[in-house]
Amino acid sequence: MTRISKTALLGGAGFGFGFLIIFHVIHKAYGKLDLWGLDIFQFLVILLTFSGIALASWLNEKREEENPLRHLGILLAAGFIILVLSGLLSSSSTGSFYLEDGMWIPTTYSSLFISVITAFLAGIGAVIVCIRIGFLIFIKRNRKTQRHLIFFASTLAANVALAGIASGPSEDVFFAVSPFSEILFAATVIAILVISSRMPWIAYLTKQEKLQALLLSFFGSIFFTLNTVFAMESTNQLSQSLAYLHPALRIFVALSFLLGAGYLTVCFASTLFHLPTAEAFDRKKAELSTMHNLSKLVKNVLNQDELLTTAASLSRQICEADGALIEIDTHVARAGNVENPATNSNHPLPHTASWSAVSDTISKEEMQRVVSALSGTYAVLPSPQNKSLVIQNVGRDKRMAALQSEKLPLGSIAAFPLQTHDQVIGRLYAFKRMNYGFDRDNLNSLSAFADQIAIAVENHRLIKALMEGQRLEQELLVARQMQQKLLPSTLPSSPVFDMAARSIPAHEVGGDYYDVVQINDEMIGITVGDVSGKSVSAALYMAETKGIFQSLTKFLSDPRQVLHRMNEALYGTIERNSFVSLLYAILDTRSGAVQFARAGHCPLLWIHGGEWQFLRPNGIGLGLDGGTIFEETLAVETVQLQPGDIIIMYTDGVSEARNNDGEEFGYRRLAETVLDLQRDSADFLLDGILERIHDFTKSDVIEDDLTLLILIWKGN
């Protein structure tokens, strides 16, 4: 869309230019045409032609890039080209106009063409001047700048319009036409001064850019001053050519060049005044941007190494140091006392701290050695009492005596503590090759920066701790849910026996397991086991144990066979430091005979009449031995239950439940507790035992998983 309109605009301008040439040729050949409205028409053509060019050139510029130097460069180029053109014009065809009836007429057709083309190009130059200065004014604009611009544009337009309406190209265009023109001209000059009074963009240039701007505006102002003079001076060829093409054009060009000259002169002066503070401004700007970067850094706290590297490189930028190093103490207790790093930092750095160093010219090792020397040899390390450490002359400073013989490439060092809540968590060091490299500004910025870094590091630690905690919680939750799902939801019930079981997981979730399977119409398989390990791994091994148990008991009715096969299966898969202890019993519901084997598990408690007995056939834990030892040691025992007999299977969470004195609940207490309680209902008995254990430990916190399975034989 804009491309089409631009093409149309330029095409129209070309057409207008063609018309102007033809008009002038006709004029020269046949004298002034006496047509009504011709003057106005000619004025309109020239107005539209240059408006078209101006619009096209305005549209052409990408407004996003606000680069003042680019605009200044274009201004300079335009000024130079116009100067050369007017120079060529004067040297090639002196005296090529003659006056006739108060009008300039070119002597030959060639001079006609040359002067018309030159005037046209000068007109384009004037358009460029207006537009570029317009762009410059629009940088950092506010409501006032817009008003100033409108003021200038309207005075310019008024000048041009006056010249256009009152036309009839004359010898002395400016001052002879009308008294108004003098007032208007003065108004335009004021507008130029007003516009030039505000150049906020200069302040934002870097020192380098300011030097460039100074050069550009210096030559630019000279060129445009000359151009303005040439365009106004009625004896000059350029002035004559412009007036010949149209007096209004001459006014426009002259005023535009005046704007250029005025603006660039003020620009030069302004830049010159800004130059001494350029460096300070540069630094403040750099500080601001590094502060800005750091605030971004604070958000990115997941990777401490990255955080430190970025912080070190920003610290280096902020004070133009040759190197920077950030050291974070890893030995500082989370909520503990402030440890004085100086007292125990004789170790090499990496053991006591994580650190990150950035430099092109100083090696990391050198920086590290300096830091070690500072922290190890002297108690001068920054701490809350000792805010900062500044060594301005490394070669002479007593504190650096230990390293002076080594001729380190260092002149000055500044160090700041990184502290949060009065706790020093590390230090920021900056290094410069020159002596007295750190001025007060540098030190202030570094100090502020050190606080920012401390906050970032602290945030990183907090978030990490939080995440780790959440992860563990999540893991425990998963493990607990798994464990609960692996336990049977219902137990078989029968008139001949009463069964109850419960497993209470500890906070850290071990691998307690119990299961009951109906082997056939008469046989019921009962198991209680304990998988070593904690949390998810215990839960996984428990799931595996259950799978193996469930599948083996379907086709094996001998406890010895079941355990032997389980051992084989588990030994092949679980880790060497893990194992499973398990008790497996098969109850014959017709006879009340219980056949059982023990794989390294707590003995079976048999209550028989008023007597108790722990039955402990030989057998080692599952997953301990892959050879023949397991099978060789495994023994099977059988008990014949009488009505009222009870067997109790449990895990070590029961027998090893401890009270505050470290005393264990123990086997004997368990047996005596059972005898002490009502033994009609398995459920009640279970509750009773758990209550007694709780009374014993006097603690609601269970240290280890605790599982109890009770079978009361009623008999047939």
Partner: protein, 117 residues
């Protein structure tokens, strides 16, 4: 809460590890590291003295299982000595006496190494 320390020394090319305190899931990694160090330095004849050990959990037992295979592969052994009754019961329940040699005191354990070689 759970304090656990290991003190190692050497006697006639046999490494003796004195365990002290509570050996449970939290302190087991410490023992693991000690074993790793011994194995890395080529020590495969090890005597573990339990005289000062107050408590051992199943995670503690697991550590011995973890290394016994490699130790025996290198003609070495882990022999256990000076267990309190309480600690011995834990080993015994799981069936360790058939897997490890357990001695009344350290000297016997050392002697049994010498008789073998």
């Amino acid at each position: 809460m759970s304090e656990f320390t290991i003190d190692a020394h050497e006697h006639d090319q046999i490494r003796i590890l004195n365990l002290k305190g509570y050996l449970d899931a939290h302190t087991a990694p410490q023992l693991e590291t000690s074993f790793q160090k011994e194995l890395e330095s080529g020590h495969y004849k090890l005597v573990i003295n339990f005289r000062d050990l107050n408590y051992i959990s199943s995670a503690g037992l697991g550590v011995f299982m973890q290394f016994i295979e490699e130790v025996r592969k290198h003609e070495g052994d882990i022999k256990l000595a000076n267990m309190s009754k309480r600690v011995y019961n834990v080993f015994d329940l799981l069936g360790f006496p058939v897997l490890f040699e357990i001695f009344e005191d350290e000297k016997e354990a050392l002697l049994s190494f010498q008789n073998k070689s």
